[in-house]
């Protein structure tokens, strides 16, 4: 079924229940492609495999429920103003897809380009941001420099007093950046993939990856039995090291808990996304009215899917300094996800040393924004068996060749 004003009206007036948006099939014995992990990236990959490459014998296996990993836990900041050419290419590819994603999926992903403003608190930072602005413009990515009073005009509750512990010297603004509804992204891709024949199999944990004596993958072992596959794609975020170890592949990844928290809902007070790398804080307001605040990662590797309270506290101190009016808000809930961090803070996408085994991981603290673009180019990579030009620089190989894509500065705040 398609969503439209008429279908909405009919269900509102008639009171008929909405049909299920995707099937819950039993796993088949074999598929052309098995995708491990039904987060946004895995589901988008399945959708584009079916839609753009005609590969429809596809299963997405998920140990929990779809979208229950980082996709459903993130703070949904979207932007594409990364420094390096390779990064600008992939994040901007994603941003362009965000702009029409709701229409493409016939599902409201609530993409809201309300602007992402990054604050500079020191001369050094101001210079770095200006360099980013210029590099971005050369790559056709919008980004502009604002003075403190221009920043205040764009975001009125911001405290630009020179008496701040870390005063604001200016800001970089990407107007096309913004937020989207994370669950809707997972659900929209799941619904679209399902309609094209993809099997989404939840409560199905992959416990082993099986290989032929000559090397290539041929099946996965799961809690719901063995499933044969010609190609296997691992899109398991924080669990990537664990899953790839099943095929004997070691990864340059470390998994850390990353937290976020929301306040009680209030009327619209914050018109854009504001982030600060140096004091580590970022904040936006959801359509429900909650202030959505992202904290840092814990210091150590962990799969606990929670985080230390002192980490969240530290972020709140910074938020209250930047926005004194938020001091009296109560926090409603906090949670954590497990993010897979690479040495250069750029993702790893493409082939692995094992034939037929593909990986898309290492998005760390900032991969939600890339979801449509990542799925799109990863699907092309799996379909053709060779890297799509946009993903080629992100190969696992780069840690051997030394051609790292250093985005440590862009990713300094966890978003």
């Amino acid at each position: 079924m398609r969503f439209s004003i008429f279908s909405l009206l009919r269900h509102a007036i008639g009171g008929t229940p909405w049909p299920e948006q995707w099937r819950s099939p039993e796993p088949k014995a074999a598929y052309d492609v098995v995708i491990i992990g039904a987060g946004g990236h895995g589901l988008a990959t399945a959708y584009y495999l079916a839609r753009e490459h005609g590969i429809r014998r596809v299963a997405v296996l998920e140990r929990g429920w779809l979208g229950g990993g980082n996709t459903g836990r993130n703070t949904t900041v979207i932007r594409s103003n990364y420094l390096r050419d390779e990064s600008a290419a992939i994040y901007e590819h994603a941003l362009k897809l965000w702009e029409t994603l709701a229409q493409e999926l016939n599902y409201n992903v609530m993409y809201s380009p309300r602007g992402v403003m990054m604050l500079a608190h020191s001369v050094h930072e101001a210079q770095v941001f200006k360099r980013h602005v210029h590099a971005n413009r050369l790559n056709g990515v919008d980004n502009e420099w604002l003075t403190p009073s221009e920043a205040k005009a764009f975001c009125p509750p911001l405290n630009i007093s020179p008496d701040l512990r870390y005063p604001i010297l200016g800001a970089a603004l990407q107007r096309r950046g913004g937020v989207a509804r994370h669950d809707a992204v997972a659900w929209g891709y799941a619904r679209g993939a399902n309609a094209l024949g993809v099997d989404i199999i939840q409560n199905c944990e992959v416990t082993g990856i099986s290989r032929m004596p000559s090397g290539p993958v041929n099946a996965v072992e799961t809690t719901r039995g063995r499933i044969a596959a010609r190609k296997v794609a691992v899109v398991a975020a924080g669990h990537t090291s664990v899953v790839l170890a099943m095929a004997g592949v070691r990864m340059p990844l470390e998994s850390y808990p990353l937290q976020a928290l929301v306040s009680e809902p209030v009327k619209p007070v914050l018109p854009c996304v504001v982030m600060s790398n140096s004091i580590h804080a970022y904040i936006s307001q959801s359509d429900k009215g909650e202030l959505v605040i992202g904290a840092a990662t814990d210091a150590y590797v962990s799969y606990s899917q929670a985080g230390g309270l002192h980490v969240a506290e530290h972020t709140l101190e910074a938020i209250c300094e930047l926005f004194p009016t938020f001091r009296r808000l109560r926090m409603l809930r906090n949670w954590g996800g497990i993010v897979d961090v690479t040495p250069d803070r750029s993702p790893i996408i493409g082939l692995t040393p094992v034939p037929g085994l593909y990986v898309n991981c290492g998005w760390g603290t900032g991969g939600f924004k890339a979801t449509p673009g990542s799925g799109h180019v990863f699907a092309a990579t799996i379909a053709r068996g060779e890297p799509h030009p946009i993903v080629a620089p992100f190969a696992l190989e780069r840690f051997r060749t030394g051609a790292l894509i250093d985005e440590a500065a862009a990713a300094a705040v966890a978003h």
């Binding site: 090291s241 990864m251 998994s255 150590y300 590797v301 962990s302 606990s304 051997r400």
Partner: protein, 90 residues
Amino acid sequence: MLLIDCPWCGARPENEFRYGGEAHIARPQDAASLDDAAWTAFLYMRNNPKGRHAERWRHIHGCGRFFNCLRDTVSDRIEATYKPGEPAPQ
């Protein structure tokens, strides 16, 4: 916040320490003779296990010394801390 037992100072809160990554990764003696794969493994590849993890910590706001720690990465429970040079408890 973890409570970490520094082998020299005793139990102290996590924010007195800095995490130092996976333990027992020895720098190769003769780096020039390594091939790229071995050098990559030393520089970048990590076990990142879901379970028992041997890791380094440094008591930066205390005695300043490095030591090793065995921790379960699912429960975050610390099993043991031990001095550098000592083998990991079994």
